[in-house]
């Protein structure tokens, strides 16, 4: 048994050039706010997104015909890890770049592709994900939001919840029940919904830090043209599952707390305690290993494989690592998590938001279930 088939990692020839380019862009834009650095892929900054779009760093693997740049998956991976490691504010375009653009290019109608994808590649059009509902959290197959036919059009009704950045997004891809009376993962379809569609309304959900990323999205008889159906009618579950592999395997699943490690190393520069140095080593070893794993999954995706099991392991380990880090730092460093020192500020922020790391994008329990099944249990 080898649960994670390893292979030699081959980085693209252009990697060091791309790294330099991203580092230069980030330095020029500035990422001074330490809490912002710890919130990299949740923090929207349209100005930075447009800058990246202009530099050809969004939609890197998409066809040029749709505004993409036809670069390789590993080149894209290099750019992503550089942005995250620097704590750059990539939240505005993150979802569009990671999954929505790819989904539309693969399954969307020509009309939908032309309408949305080029703007995404420019860093001007942002997306959100309409999966969870009040009665469908981990149990996603329980979605009840419905789509019914009205001649050529579709009429959507229902509610989505925990929709990150719905209030900044231009478009949502929603999983809805398109066949009345269907149950579980049958009869589901994906639709592309403009956020300014009549009948769509957004209500903020304030998180425990006082921050606003989450929203409720209400769909009240929202009328959409036939071209809004993404992929095959009734094929929604399969499409979403493939999309989740993209959502789960990226470097954001272990780099969310990188700002804390960087501040800890800075702190260790003058607090020469053995305990702090040991913790730095432990966290660095974990970071280095997770990078090998995450890049390994990226290489498999680049070859067209669907490493769902490996992706689940990377996310589970990555989340456990990110989540443990604030507590470990708090245990060895005497710093006020309310600030004003940068280390304290980052620590205070991550202490409060890290519980969400093993919830978003698939809970720890769901992931471990996927891994167990992959091992041949059940």
């Amino acid at each position: 048994m080898q649960t994670f088939v390893t292979e030699r990692l081959v980085w693209p020839e252009t990697a060091s050039h791309l790294r330099e380019k991203v580092r230069e862009l980030v330095a020029r834009h500035g990422v001074e706010d330490p809490v912002g650095r710890a919130n990299s892929w949740a923090k929207p900054d349209p100005q930075f997104s447009r800058l990246l779009g202009a530099e050809g760093l969004i939609g890197m693997v998409w066809p040029k015909e749709y505004g993409g740049h036809e670069r390789s998956q590993m080149e894209r991976y290099v750019v992503l890890e550089e942005l995250l490691a620097a704590g750059a504010p990539v939240g505005a375009h993150w979802i569009a770049d990671r999954q929505t653009g790819a989904l539309l290019l693969r399954y969307g109608t020509e009309e939908a592709r032309r309408r949305w994808v080029p703007g995404m590649a420019r860093g001007e059009v942002y997306a959100c994900i309409g999966l969870s509902e009040p009665g469908a959290g981990s149990d996603l197959a329980a979605v009840r939001t419905s789509a019914r036919r009205d001649e050529e059009d579709w009429i959507l009704s229902g509610q989505k919840v925990w929709t990150t950045n719905a209030h900044h997004a231009h478009v949502m891809i929603a999983l809805v029940r398109s066949e009345a009376g269907s149950t579980r993962n049958e009869g589901l379809s994906q639709f592309v919904i403009p956020m300014d569609a009549p009948g769509l309304s957004i209500k903020p959900i304030i998180d425990l830090t006082g921050g606003h990323d989450f929203n409720e999205v209400f769909l009240d008889e929202v009328r959409l043209p036939a071209s809004a159906l993404v992929g095959q009618q009734g094929n929604g579950w399969k499409q979403v599952t493939a999309e989740l592999s993209l959502e789960r395997s990226g470097p954001e699943r272990y780099l969310s707390s990188m700002a804390l490690l960087v501040e800890l190393i800075r702190h260790a520069g003058w607090d020469r305690s053995e305990q702090v140095e040991n913790l730095v080593a432990r966290l660095a070893a974990e970071t280095w290993t997770l990078r090998m794993m995450s890049a390994g999954v990226a290489a498999k995706i680049a070859r067209g494989e669907d490493p769902a099991l490996e992706a689940a392991m990377v996310k589970d380990l990555g989340n456990a690592f990110e989540q443990a880090m604030p507590e470990l730092v708090q245990a060895v460093v005497d710093v006020d998590p309310a600030g004003p020192e940068p280390l304290g500020l980052v620590l205070g922020h991550l202490l409060q938001v890290s519980p969400s790391f093993s919830l978003r994008g698939g809970t720890r329990e769901i992931l471990k279930g996927i891994i167990a099944r992959g091992l041949g249990l059940r």
Partner: protein, 322 residues
């Protein structure tokens, strides 16, 4: 894996599975020599196979998987460092004493299967490694907690050859590869047992608590395998100081999680001498100490990172990709 590595893996798999954990130096070393695995890392010009560290990882991992107690990794490293192919050499983890004018006075310990070895490669007190004839060391034998033979010895003004290799790091990487294999084997055994053993009218593997524990174990085994691969690649680039430290540290941490889940899933039967779990878990516990425990590698790695500073951390991590 490339084609050559796949052939190497098939050959090692077949041979090591047949040898198993009961193989001994006296009875079975000739079967290793027959297929020249002791010359795996030795250059072709010196009469070896000329393999890379990635090739070695394939073989050492499978040796760990089958709980093999033959010193294949030790012999392969010793031969490569000393550039000797004629007789089996081995490696040691600790040296104290002095080297002056090509002569060594002091003691060497953590020698793996020293008896019958022609020479020993040990860390040199002045950096790099020293090669010493075993005959110059009065050997004392003891057993590791896994029952593997280890020796210590002292030398008085004995001639040594100094070489510019870090045998301690090489030993650490070999252990990481073996740990990766042994963890995968213990995981496979645990999954098999959980699917067979019935309690409360169903297989243990049907219980969610058992499933989740084994999933956690799988993540640790996967991390160790990836760390081993990363370090083997770095060793090939000869820029492995960071990678080996990180990999051994990561592997050491995985051992705790993996062995405790394996034993918990097996229940009392896994605690018996008869049941073949302890050949894996006892080795894992012994290997956690050998060639650097957590404290050792933490100090090496932590000091290095802090000295380089926060601004260089990520740049250094990615600079060694090529």
């Amino acid at each position: 894996m490339n084609d050559e590595q796949r052939m190497l893996a098939d050959m090692a798999e077949e041979l090591f599975a047949s040898l198993g954990h009961t193989a001994t130096l006296e009875n079975d070393w000739s079967s290793i020599e027959q297929v020249a695995l002791d010359g795996l890392l030795l250059g072709e010009d010196d009469g070896g196979f000329g393999g890379s560290w990635e090739d070695a990882l394939v073989v050492f991992r499978i040796a760990g998987y089958h709980g093999l107690s033959l010193p294949i990794a030790e012999a392969a490293i010793a031969a490569a460092v000393a550039r000797r192919s004629s007789a089996r050499g081995t490696i040691a983890s600790h040296t104290s004493g002095e080297v002056a004018g090509g002569r060594f006075t002091g003691s060497i310990s953590g020698i793996c299967c020293g008896e019958g070895a022609a020479f020993v490669v040990a860390p040199s007190p002045a950096g790099g490694s020293l090669v010493i004839e075993t005959a110059a060391l009065g050997l004392e034998a003891h057993e590791s907690v896994a029952g593997e033979t280890r020796h210590a010895g002292t030398a008085q003004d004995a001639p040594v050859t100094l070489v510019d290799y870090d045998v301690f790091a090489m030993g650490a990487l070999a252990r990481v590869a073996q740990v990766a294999g042994a963890l995968d084997a213990a995981l496979a055994r645990s999954v098999e047992y959980a699917n067979e053993r019935q309690q409360f009218g169903r297989a243990l593997g049907k219980f969610q608590a058992v499933q989740q524990a084994l999933a956690t174990f799988a993540g640790e085994a996967a991390a160790t395998n990836c760390a081993a691969m990363g370090a083997a690649q770095a060793m090939g680039r000869r820029s492995a100081a960071f990678a080996v430290a990180a990999a051994k540290l990561r592997a050491n941490r995985a051992i705790g999680v993996g062995t405790s889940v394996a034993h918990q899933v097996h229940g009392a039967i896994g605690f018996t001498q008869e049941y073949p779990l302890h050949q894996l878990t006892r080795r894992l516990w012994a290997w956690r100490s050998e060639f650097g425990n957590d404290a050792y590698w933490s100090e090496v790695l932590g000091r290095r990172i802090v000295a380089r500073g926060a601004e260089n951390f990520w740049a250094d991590l990615t600079a060694s990709d090529h």
